[in-house]
Symmetry: D3
Subunit: 136 residues, 6 copies
């Protein structure tokens, strides 16, 4: 499996991005999560928001931004194979090289495709990787 | 990657099935097909119809039906990551243990989700594997 | 798994190519197709012919040719792990940027290695991807 | 890749578990996260805590517990290939079928193997999957 | 990739087995070994002999036999994609629960399929896993 | 899975290298080796020594060195998920473009991390791939 969870970007500006992660039976993690109840793991919902934020912030320089903090994260509906997670990430502001984001993910279901229930919501910060030598 | 291309079944009867295959960047074949233009390979569109037909025909006994013949197969629009292929397979009739099917696959695009252009269409037969010993 | 089904090219000219696809237990799709009867899926036989055609036509320009149409495709013998599919693709002619091909795949079995029964045969066209923007 | 992030359990009781997740170059996600700076993604640190909590709580019934909420999550040091994440999860209490956990993950580095810097810390709840039919 | 390197067994008795491992571009390890020169790694030739020995010895009880010792192992020709390794393993004798084997692997090339050059040869012992608790 | 078994290099000089291979449940081969007793296969211990030797010898030119011969190879303790194999490879000398190495692999166990029992030891040679055309 490729660790690339953004399938398409629907809208993008300097402080907002809307992107979609599809969920398919062909993705290997579903075989383990869970054997008889395949759903997108919650942490991969968060990673979808993280990767969306990374794209939104890519114009500002380093593209290797990582999670700094996560606050008030709540999980709701599941996203099953054949459904999709639509994430919307908004940049609330930046302090130094830390970027404060707010994200929400909704379930898209076929065939209507309309915005469904909330699957995940919360706030998080993105920061540069500040590479340090091993052992420090 | 799991070779399971049916993400969800929308409708199913004894002679008709409608199912969906999502396409995601996380699926490995897209890295090779093609490096700078990831699209669902045409043969996997056909396999989606084959796996849908196998589910539709599962009540009739052996679930290990395979492709026998394919006729008049045409490919149209591509299906990209973040889009989906909605296949509709109809059973036209059976002769002995061969099942004659007609299939069509349409592109589903967000956020409208409405039926889009035709990605694939054609006729095909499904037949039992008729296991024979190697060397025969 | 890599989506690269040409293991070796035995012969190649401007309008003919002979290539081999080995089948091994280590390839993941066999675990699903089928759990107790591992055989090369029919659509991957077709993909082997498509990838062989793409190599044969590579000198003519765009290497990202895709399937356009498939006619009179018939499947015969299975190809099991430890066996190989030898495909022969012949260019029958071109109209504009569409290339008309005829292909046949035979089973190679050890230890004789001689040409065995027909596994697949049919006609197909290859066409450029004609990239169009999403939504068109 | 298997979505099984608990390599070994060092200590386990009804309300506390200590477990280890090794990081290796052979794991595929490192090729993408990041091409020239392979580190365990933050969300997989969280998933390690989630899977540890699931084991700790397995005696109480349903083993398919998922993330409900996450609070005060902070990320610190990276975990590189050849290093390990040692997570300690403590059950703070349960309300109904929701379990309130506190977790911390530290970096283990060879050859000393002693507890290193904090890689992740935070609070989270685990809840049953409460299966509902698609479309609700 | 599945760690199952026996594609087919050509001959088998209580003290001799002949088996085949095909090599395909679709197997992932070839992408790394080596990027511009894909060949079956030497250790996987050995593993093919080990897995063949395990099948030959399966009738004697525990099927989870592992390598004990290896002596006089020599590597010769490479095995490329589209070629195969034919291994022949002979049981020289057993002492207690250790089984002394001699193995040779030859390259099979299409289209002749005849026995080719030696790719690997050597002696090795197989022994039960003798499970012991971690920490002993 | 990536066929890259060196997770970190602890020490390196022109004729000695110490490196570590972690073992994790996420690595796919463990599912097959063995279903109820996951341990690092012996041949992958050897490959870890081979890849360490390749790094040690990389300054001398061709980085695509392969195994030539293996002598007096013995396997001891298992390496389980959450444990690591620490290999030490020493260059005993070179004759022409063949390099004579001696290697030993020890089990590293948490939380002490101290050097544990011997998992593998033996002598082996590394030689250039001497590329020859197929069919020779």
């Amino acid at each position: 499996m490729k660790f690339d969870l953004i399938d398409t970007v629907l809208e993008q500006s300097a402080d907002r991005i809307v992107a979609i992660k599809h969920v398919t039976m062909a993705e290997e993690y579903l075989a383990d999560h869970f054997p008889s109840f395949p759903v997108l793991p919650g942490v991969l919902m968060v990673e979808t928001m993280v990767q969306a934020a990374r794209r939104m912030l890519a114009d500002r320089g380093d593209t290797r931004l990582v999670l700094g903090e996560v606050k008030g994260l709540k999980f709701g509906s599941f996203v099953r194979p054949g459904e999709a997670l639509e994430v919307e990430v908004i940049l609330n502001g930046s302090s130094g090289d830390e970027h404060h984001c707010r994200g929400i993910g909704r379930v898209l279901r076929h065939p209507t495709g309309g915005s469904g229930e909330t699957a995940v919501s919360g706030r998080f910060t993105m920061r540069p990787i500040r590479r340090t030598p091993p052992g420090d």
